[in-house]
């Protein structure tokens, strides 16, 4: 699955959210965004839900949060998002 990467680690709020929302705007069907961030972006999740995106979070060994974001229609079409 094609991937876009956004490294928002140690950017001052709300820059990570600004960049993430701008990045997902341009996501093509079948693409996903891999967001790297230094803290859990609690405020982002409700917006993603409301805008019709799905996400999966994962914490790396160095404490970085890795968040995969994709359009919900993909899952509906049988693609469960990034493996």
């Amino acid at each position: 699955m094609p991937e876009r990467i956004l490294d928002a680690r140690w950017l001052e709020p709300p820059e990570p959210m600004e960049l993430t929302l701008a990045a997902i705007d341009g996501l093509e069907p079948g693409e996903h965004l891999r967001l790297l961030i230094h803290r859990t972006p609690h405020m982002l999740f409700p917006i993603l839900k409301e805008w019709g995106f799905d996400y999966r979070t994962h914490t790396l060994d160095d404490g970085t949060h890795e968040i995969f974001i994709w359009r919900k229609e993909q899952a509906a079409a049988g693609d469960p998002g990034p493996a």
Binding site: W10, P13, P14, H42, P46, E50
Partner: protein, 435 residues
């Protein structure tokens, strides 16, 4: 480690809830500057000067109190992890009665108008005591018990105690009777207000906002767990200790050490931040923490040279450092983070997926404008401190600088608010035409 608080779309109150407080507060600071300009050097003649009492409350209740009320109404649903019921009604009630009551109190003090004070007394009592109860009850029912919420609850209790003392003292002015213990109660009122309500609230809020916005390491867990509670107990102890001078000095020394350790820890954390780009809010916090340390040093110096501690200028210097230097600096700095963020957040949530672009936080409030206002604020602080020491030379320049800084802050708030209205209207048109 405290549980991180967050704000979700369904929990956030409408932007008008906090914004009305942030737009009104700088006008009270501006009024204080105009009062200083009108009264001139005589204002500093005595700490009991009614006009100086009016000026103090224009700043503590009008500027500091209103912004803190607005910020807490915004944060409460986040802290409580549940939306507030009828936020607009509560905000309208608190704001209307609060501004009216503060206006009447200051008018009554400045012009010695007992009727205004008699109306202000129940008005302010109702608003602030109900508000304290709202904060304490909401946080008690909250499932999330982070250290910021705990500090906020202790600060609200201190607000209630400060207000109760304030009401007793106000009844003296309003009904013309004088308590023998007026000086002790006044000292307790201002100490609980400045160190309890404002001080503990800033400490608690710093635990969240300093690491989050300034990208510093978190505050040490020992400090976040104990400091607010310790300050609260020490402040409460001041009441019974007022008749025991040795105990009083021990409690005050521990309070001074507590606030100094908070200021030093904050400055140390800020020196460890990940990014070293200049930031206006960070500079405001630096100024606030340095003012707090200067206030502690001043208090310490007065203990070493008791003759100096009883002079008129000592109390006024301490008050200026705590009110304008510490509290107003931190609040002014935070407004520059909170207001553009709220405007951006509400526009962003309104825009929806694939909607038109909304301005980012830097475009909403450009740093060039906030930085100039910050310089003016600190020049004003320096001039005000100089005016306390030498009123005849510095009072008028201080009033002009402080007035200009307050006006500029207000214009910056108005500008962000107007951008919100403009873009919000555009988004409304886009949604309508898309529908």
């Amino acid at each position: 480690m405290s549980k991180p608080a967050s704000l979700s779309l369904d929990q956030a109150p409408p932007i008008g809830v906090p914004l009305r407080f942030f737009l009104t507060a700088p006008l009270f600071a501006l009024t204080a500057a105009l009062l200083l300009l009108w009264q001139g050097p005589d204002l500093f003649s005595s700490r009991w000067n009614p006009a100086l009492l009016g000026l103090t409350h224009l700043l503590t209740l009008g500027f500091i109190g209103l912004t803190m009320l607005g910020a807490i109404l915004q944060m409460l649903p986040v802290v409580a992890s549940a939306p507030m019921r009828r936020p607009v009604l509560i905000a309208t009630f608190v704001h209307a009665l609060g501004t009216g009551g503060i206006g009447l109190l200051c008018y009554g003090l400045i012009f010695t108008a007992p009727l205004a004070l008699q109306i202000a007394l129940p008005t302010l009592g109702t608003v602030f005591l109900l508000f304290s109860a709202l904060v304490v009850i909401t946080i008690r029912r909250s499932p999330a018990h982070n250290m910021t919420a705990r500090a906020m609850r202790l600060a609200a209790l201190m607000l209630a105690a400060t207000v109760l003392l304030g009401l007793i003292l106000l009844s003296n002015h309003a009904f013309g009777w004088w308590l023998q213990t007026r000086e002790i109660l006044t000292n307790l009122h201002l100490t609980w207000g400045l160190l309890g309500w404002i001080g503990i609230l800033v400490v608690g809020v710093a635990y969240q906002v300093v690491p989050m916005f300034q990208l510093t390491p978190p505050y040490p867990a020992t400090l976040t767990r104990w400091l607010a509670a310790l300050l609260f107990i020490l402040l409460l102890g001041l009441a019974p200790a007022s008749h025991f001078p040795t105990l009083l000095i021990v409690l005050k020394a521990m309070l001074a050490a507590g606030f100094a350790s908070f200021a030093l820890t904050t400055l140390w954390l800020q020196s460890q931040r990940r990014r070293t780009l200049p930031d206006v809010t960070l500079s405001f916090w630096h100024g606030g923490m340095i003012s707090l340390l200067l206030a502690v040093s001043l208090w310490l110096a007065a203990q070493c040279v008791p003759a100096w501690g009883v002079t008129q200028s000592y109390g006024l210097l301490l008050g200026t450092l705590m009110i304008v230097g510490f509290a107003m600096s931190v609040i002014n700095g935070m407004l520059y983070k909170i207001v553009p963020f709220l405007v951006w957040f509400h526009l962003q949530s309104r825009r929806g997926a694939n909607g038109p672009k909304v301005p980012n936080v830097r475009e909403l409030l450009p740093e060039s404008r906030t930085r100039r206002q910050m310089r003016l604020h600190f020049f004003a602080l320096g001039a005000l401190l100089a005016a306390v020491l030498s009123p005849s030379i510095f009072t008028y320049p201080a009033a002009l600088l402080f007035g200009a800084s307050s006006l500029w802050l207000w214009l910056n708030m108005v500008s962000a608010s107007r951008t919100f209205r403009k873009v919000n209207a555009l988004l409304g048109q886009t949604t309508a035409s898309a529908g």
